[in-house]
């Protein structure tokens, strides 16, 4: 069974800067994968490589076992909704659907209509609200019944209500088509309730990759008195260390053994967990108020 998406040591360099490097991951059938990370982390680059818009500098990407740059058949398997949901603005909703039908080998017009809900086919694209425009782009991508659906920051332009509705249509479509979904977003809260798995990118590299439940089950916050840190029973790795006064707070990856009883142990939410992996330094206690670069010559 070939995976809908598989990347091996995938890298992309823009001039001297690596936008993505050493990225190895597999998305399984019908899996819903959140691709998280701050701006410039490599999310759009990863999606662009998967849809064949970008050529890898190194490594390989396979969609349903095929190279999206060389094999047009691979692109039949990919639905892609780019950041600004590009649509032909002079077209009407109905004309966009007709365009989709004419340009795709596999086309489920009935599903497209279902996902559009009450959107009238005669409405010109220009007159759609941002939410409706996203919904149309999503319906067009899902009507291909793709094995892989890629969404780049779909919530960026949507208000919370439209965002929620978008998610409902997306999940409905995913249930119907069984597509594997890659959902790239900066805002983890948007996707927390829908993801089976999270891939966290940071500065072009995979910082964390795992099933959401497992990530939550294997990370804990430990609080205790400040002390020199050696090995802690029950802990595999200290992800982040933060101290204030005499107190020490650690985010740790656990190994399933009971944790040293001298620490008080708390669960951590997904958003906080990803933030800690994203930018550990940002979460540390504020630095001393005196800026080091300025000297006082008084």
């Amino acid at each position: 069974m070939t995976a809908p998406l598989e990347t091996t040591a995938l890298g992309k360099r823009h001039r001297s800067r690596w936008a993505l490097r050493d990225c190895t991951l597999t998305a399984g059938e019908a899996e819903i994968v959140g691709v998280a990370g701050p701006n410039g982390a490599g999310k759009s680059t990863l999606l662009g490589l998967a849809v064949g818009l970008l050529a890898p500098t190194e490594g390989a990407v396979r969609v349903a076992g095929r190279d999206p740059r060389r094999d047009a058949g691979a692109l039949q398997e990919v639905g892609y909704v780019a950041q600004d949901a590009p649509l032909y603005r002079p077209f009407s909703v109905g004309e966009m659907l007709e365009f989709g039908r004419a340009t795709n080998r596999r086309w489920d017009g009935e599903l497209a209509l279902e996902l559009l809900g009450g959107l009238a086919p005669r409405t010109p694209v220009v007159d759609l609200t941002p939410g409706e425009r996203s919904q149309l782009a999503l319906a067009l991508a899902l009507a291909k019944r793709p094995s892989l659906l890629l969404l780049d920051e779909p919530f960026a332009r949507l208000d919370p209500l439209a965002g929620r509705h978008f998610l409902q249509v997306l999940m409905d479509g995913a249930a119907e088509t069984g597509s594997t979904v890659l959902l790239a977003t900066r805002v983890v809260a948007d996707i927390e309730r829908v993801c089976d798995r999270i891939v966290l990118l940071g500065e072009g590299r995979v910082r964390l990759d795992g099933p959401v439940e497992q990530l939550l089950a294997t990370h804990r916050l430990l609080t205790g008195a400040r002390r020199p840190l050696g090995r802690i029973r029950g802990v595999d790795e200290i992800v982040r260390e933060r101290s204030s006064g005499r107190q020490l707070t650690l985010l740790v990856r656990t190994n399933g053994l009971p944790i040293d009883a001298s620490w008080s142990v708390d669960e951590i939410g997904l958003e906080d967990l990803l933030l800690a992996y994203m930018a550990p330094e940002q979460l540390q206690a504020p630095p001393p108020p005196e800026p080091s670069r300025l000297r006082w010559h008084g």
Partner: protein, 129 residues
């Protein structure tokens, strides 16, 4: 039936669905033969991952409460309702007390049974009316 989510409960979403189905089975809101909402209906309502719903339904199936019929849906096969059992013991104790009292007042077995059956009939008539 309709599911709802408590984002702050800390309970995994699939377990929330499992619990809500069980609760409905216990309260008699779902009965044998009833169909659970389809996966698509649930995800379109709650905006959650279809795999989560499927996982919840598999769990319920594993516990023998529902059965999935391919192409048709998931149906309730077992109910958790038994409203009477938990009350039997206290009712029996009250009845024993009543019997002791009846004996003390001189009723024999035949009069006791006659009194009980006539009272049951009378109460039934009153409820029907």
């Amino acid at each position: 039936m309709e599911f709802h989510l408590d984002q702050r409960s800390g309970l995994p979403v699939y377990l929330q669905i499992v619990q809500q189905v069980k609760e409905a089975l216990r309260l008699g809101l779902l009965d044998v033969g009833d169909q659970l909402p389809t996966v698509r209906e649930v995800v379109a309502e709650l905006a959650i991952n279809p795999n989560t719903v499927a996982k919840a339904y598999r769990e319920l199936e594993h516990e023998g409460l529902v059965a999935a019929t391919p192409g048709r849906g998931t149906f309730v096969t077992e109910t958790l309702v038994d409203p009477s059992v938990e009350h039997h013991e206290s009712l029996r104790r009250a009845l024993l007390g009543w019997l002791v009292e009846a004996r003390r007042m001189g009723l024999d077995e035949e009069s006791i049974l006659a009194l009980i059956s006539s009272t049951v009939r009378e109460e039934l008539d009153r409820r029907v009316a």
